[in-house]
Symmetry: C2
Subunit: 251 residues, 2 copies
Amino acid sequence: MELSRKELALLRALATRQGRKKSGCCRCEGLRAVRELLAFYPEKVKFAAVSESASGVFECAPELLRIVPDKLFSEISGTVSTQGIIAVAQIPPEASGEIKGNFVLALDQLGDPGNFGTIARSLRAAGEYELWYTKGSIDPWGDKAIRSGMGVQFGLNLRRFETLEELALAGVRMGVKNVFIADPHQGESCFTCNALFDRSIIVIGGEPNGVKGAYPDARRVIIPMPGDYESINAAQAATVLIFESVRRKMN
Amino acid sequence: MELSRKELALLRALATRQGRKKSGCCRCEGLRAVRELLAFYPEKVKFAAVSESASGVFECAPELLRIVPDKLFSEISGTVSTQGIIAVAQIPPEASGEIKGNFVLALDQLGDPGNFGTIARSLRAAGEYELWYTKGSIDPWGDKAIRSGMGVQFGLNLRRFETLEELALAGVRMGVKNVFIADPHQGESCFTCNALFDRSIIVIGGEPNGVKGAYPDARRVIIPMPGDYESINAAQAATVLIFESVRRKMN
């Protein structure tokens, strides 16, 4: 099927936050991301635009497929070297209800879409669900965040809050026992702190200054670094903490 | 001081692997990377080119400083939105001699400079030193690898091999007891394998197919992923393994 004029306009509009808000949809670009999306959340997919050159390597239900001339495609694409496939999908409603899994990972003013996607994938691989964030963080449904996250966003419970304090208080109302802030300089060791994954919130901030927001009752947790060089980024820190939870689950 | 014509030519040449090989130097771009370089390895720095707009925020010994007009600077810079500082530094000779630290992290055909830099920083933060790699991996002294690694390359023992087998055999000759290959699908759990960091080599491959090279006596190690989604990248996998070594050191 050919791409309609309306669909083309939608594809273009979805590059902006405003366009996503208006339509309730997002763009999911890249072969792997779209395959995952179709495998796990087929009901969310509106259609998949595929460039003529890429139409041989990608298969999906014919009623979803839209073949697009290469030149037009590269104009629509958000990447420099495109893989030739973008799906348009419905953004799920924001999570509500009970906390699922063992802990909440919270991002405070995390502005980098690459870090966001990496963290989302670590969380999903670890079998956890709750990814909360404050105002000033990247839009999880933006092009780059989806590419980097390869669409795992669709399987997570994303919840947005104005401030870290509001986020923490909402957690406490839902039965959270402790709020931990990952601190690059001081705190309990993440490897020995017993309460770390027991109905808790773990807050990660944008690098390199850690968490900007405040919550008076928060405990501090640190990733020990024996090297003389402290420079792992927010995504690496989150991955270490998330897989420490996996290690404990396995033992 | 002004940038000489020779220095300008060098800055341009260092964007290519050939230029680096010929001169034995590399380019280190970004405020933080250059600051670290000057703090830890000042003897390696030949000079630092700073754009006129950035000259207020950066301080270094006047004999190293070269002020460059903004327009020329953005032409030299490898980034889209430049921070306005590039240092030219001597590439250290390839590491030789004994293995330093508890284990070797080896990269088999890892082509992504972002992943390379992330892994280098995790290793350095963990207080380890040996980062080996095979042909087909990214040049550790390329622009992007240095930006992503923030210059930690200078503090690591980097060693290059033609194949994974040569790498493994060299390790065994130097007293390595076990070679572990990180495998996305099967193997001993990285959280319970006792020998994992005991004079071993741990091999990480480019995503998503894992390690391409072979070594007959290698053991397989897996990062358990309870989620229904296996999609952490090479840098995340390496970070999990590296910080598991930190956890054991701390206990």
